[in-house]
């Protein structure tokens, strides 16, 4: 830029090829030509190859019946279902394991991150050992280890370990009773919604009051009381009831109830353990990033240990923690694709694996799968941008 302006002031002694603007344009044209040429070359090759193999392309296969089975599905699935349903089943399974993994990894990761900073020698060392071991071993290896270790350690179906509340655990997974709410149960949901609205309103009011008068209100306890109180009241008054369908042992396995297959358990467990180690490091870094002067200033204001953390340290640490934390969440979601290796029917396994093989539509299946992950990523960065804008430090 600067050179260009100089060029305008002085006599245009710069030769044509040395003008940065022209050079820039030339560079770009070269890049564009190479890129377009490359794409044309690939598309041409692909078309020729597909023609030679007598293959057709297109997404019409999505509306054909799949004919295969999926072992774990949140949606009703039969072999007469369509390929697009297989896609949805895979997507939901990915989302399910990612969601569970994210929740558990966050809890475990924060615990361990804080433990690493503990003044207690044993606790901090244990946390360090955990992080250093888990971070430095490939996730795939850990998944194999958990899956086959879990399988080996579990009893056969007939020797299932009976847990309280009609639950069972064996090689085929964890079986718990399925709650079946009756029609009246709708009122309970309404109650819950009202309670949540109430809590939001309460928080708003408490904040206003704090700003106006400086008085604090025990928001957390009151919120809990409202949530449980209102929901419980609706439950009792509406006369709703929930029946439980317990799992029953049949010839090969338990029937009925809710079943969590071992692939799911191993994958969720492995993802949690692995990601928690990274989250712990993020949390530690975040807390350490808060300047010591902040602690000292808070102390000199006379804040108690608890308040100091809650009002001064944590809010500042969170600003540092949240962006890498979200990228860990995204990583966890992407890593859930390794479930294919241990037989969990997530998106890559169902769609880029089975569906691809049965239809032979490699390009379409891989493209759709990649697109899904791309959407996850774009969504996450959109949320992140919004968050960053919100918490940006407003300096003088």
């Amino acid at each position: 830029m600067t050179t260009r302006e100089m060029g305008h002031d002085a006599a245009p002694r710069v030769s044509f090829f040395n003008d940065p603007v022209i050079r820039g344009i030339i560079y770009q044209i070269v890049v564009a030509v190479i890129l377009v040429g490359f794409i044309v070359w690939i598309v041409g090759n692909t078309a020729a190859n597909l023609a030679a193999q007598n293959k057709t392309t297109g997404f019409d296969f999505l509306w054909k019946t799949a004919g295969f089975d999926i072992s774990f599905s949140l949606l009703p699935w039969s072999r007469g279902s369509y390929y697009w349903e297989a896609f949805l089943v895979g997507l939901l399974n990915t989302l399910l394991v990612a969601f569970i993994g994210i929740v558990c990894a966050t809890v475990l990761g924060f615990t361990i991150g804080i433990a690493r900073l503990s003044s207690n020698f044993i606790v901090s060392r244990l946390a360090t050992v955990y992080v250093e071991i888990i971070r430095n071993i490939p996730l795939l290896l850990q998944l194999f280890f958990w899956y086959f270790a879990v399988l080996k350690a579990m009893p056969a179906v007939r020797e299932s370990i009976a847990l309280p509340l009609d639950s069972f655990i064996n090689q085929r997974g964890i079986f718990v009773p399925r709650p079946i709410p009756d029609e009246q149960f709708g009122f309970v949901w309404i109650g819950l919604a009202l309670a949540i609205l109430g809590v939001v309103a309460l928080r708003h009011w408490a904040k206003k009051r704090l700003e106006a008068t400086g008085q604090r209100f025990p928001v957390f306890l009151t919120s809990l009381a409202i949530l449980f109180g209102v929901t419980g009241l609706f439950f009792v008054v509406s006369g709703a009831s929930v029946t439980f369908e317990p799992p029953v042992l049949e010839r090969f396995n338990f029937k009925g109830g809710l079943a969590l297959p071992p692939e799911f358990v191993a994958l969720a467990f492995g993802l949690t353990i692995y990601t928690a180690a990274f989250i712990a490091e993020t949390v530690r870094g975040g807390i350490q990033s808060v300047n010591r002067g902040q602690t000292e200033a808070a102390q000199s204001l006379g804040l108690k240990e608890n308040d100091r953390l809650r009002l001064v340290i944590v809010p500042q640490a969170m600003r540092v923690i949240i962006p890498p934390l979200t990228s860990q969440y995204l990583n966890l979601t992407k890593n859930s694709s390794l479930g294919a290796a241990i037989g969990y029917p997530e998106l890559v396994n169902v769609f880029a694996g089975t569906a691809l093989n049965q239809t032979g539509r490699a390009i379409e299946c891989i493209a759709i799968t990649m697109l899904v992950y791309l959407c996850f990523s774009l969504l996450t960065s959109a949320i992140m941008n919004w968050y960053n804008a919100r918490v940006k430090l407003v300096e003088r």
Partner: protein
């Protein structure tokens, strides 16, 4: 100096990308000096490496037979282990010259993938393996049982069809890699392991206690397994096909690797034609006149290969059954060489 480095790098990269001109496969193979053979990751009896990476098996023998026909040397083979997902692209892209990998001959594969099946090396059918302790006697007892399956196979669809047709509840666990399928079954994740019954027997032979597992009597599908080559190259296709027929013909005529040298002096005109003593059937195939002699000398005939790899005397222990010659009650039949 820099130029040299660039050249060397380029050579290194080119060493890893092979460009074969659109020439005939046979010329390519002759030029590079070996047959590139696509095989499984390790199914004993069909294609499996031992601890020194020496591959054996009935399908490996087919590749060795082709190498013997082309080079008079059965060891001029390189093996590429392929998953069931990548095998067809690998073949049609020319990564392998012949795919000999427990591949079921189906109409859609033969007509839609740009490949040609050479013949049926092994008549197989899909079966079920269960633990003896479970007391299952028939596949019809399997309603609700957990079934371990490898993804991307005809097996997956056959089983679904069979269970639907018999009104049984179908419950699968699908793995991408065959090793994981077997391991999951062995570790008790599934009650049933299903695949081609020959492969079942092969896998069973690998278990710590093979006798704890039984293979159910039901065979639910036709699984003709055979070698595959790229479509469009008739010369290579013919060579592959007649290599297979030569193995059968040799068994039918009683020519074995042990007696092939004496048989050169045989009076039987069929044997004379087979061994290239009379007439020249090799040159039109693009190989030497004694191509079949070389095959039998180095690899043996079909029966030898069968007995050595999957026959009753091996841990896999499969009877000839359908794979016996037509004159012994089977359906293996080779057109005459004349």
């Amino acid at each position: 100096m820099q130029k040299k480095l660039v050249t060397l790098t380029a050579t290194a990269i080119l060493g890893l990308t092979a460009v074969s001109a659109q020439a005939a496969i046979l010329d390519d193979v002759k030029a590079k000096g070996y047959v590139q053979c696509g095989v499984t990751g390790g199914v004993p009896g069909f294609s499996a490496p031992d601890s020194n990476n020496v591959w054996t098996g009935i399908e490996v023998d087919f590749c060795r037979a082709m190498a013997a026909a082309v080079f008079n040397d059965a060891e001029a083979v390189r093996y590429t282990s392929l998953t069931s997902q990548e095998r067809f692209t690998a073949l049609s892209a020319g990564e392998v010259d012949v795919l000999s990998r427990t591949t079921t001959w189906t109409m859609s594969r033969d007509t839609q993938l740009g490949i040609s099946f050479v013949g049926t090396m092994f008549y197989d059918g899909q079966g079920f393996m269960v633990r003896k302790a479970d007391g299952i006697e028939s596949a019809l007892d399997l309603s609700g049982a957990a079934i371990c399956i490898e993804s991307g196979t005809t097996t997956e669809l056959n089983a679904a069809d069979y269970f639907a047709a018999n009104g049984l509840e179908f419950n699968t666990v699908v793995f991408v890699d065959q090793d994981e399928v077997v391991k999951a079954y062995e570790d008790g994740r599934c009650d049933v392991y299903t695949t081609d019954s020959s492969a079942l027997a092969a896998e069973r032979s690998k278990f710590a206690n093979p006798d704890d597992h039984i293979i159910l009597p039901e065979i639910i599908s036709k699984e003709p397994l055979g070698p595959v080559v790229r479509a469009g190259d008739t010369q290579w296709f013919n060579l592959a096909r007649w290599t297979y027929f030569a193995l059968l013909e040799a068994e039918e005529l009683g020519v074995t690797s042990a007696n092939v040298d004496e048989m050169l002096g045989s009076d039987n005109p069929a044997i004379k034609r087979l061994l290239g003593v009379e007439g020249d059937f090799g040159t039109p195939l693009g190989v030497t006149k004694d191509w079949a002699y070389q095959i039998i000398k180095h690899v043996g005939n079909y029966a030898e290969s069968y007995d050595r790899n999957v026959g009753p005397a091996t841990p896999i222990g499969l009877e000839r059954g359908l794979n016996a010659l037509w004159k012994d009650g089977g359906i293996q039949y080779a057109p005459p060489i004349r």
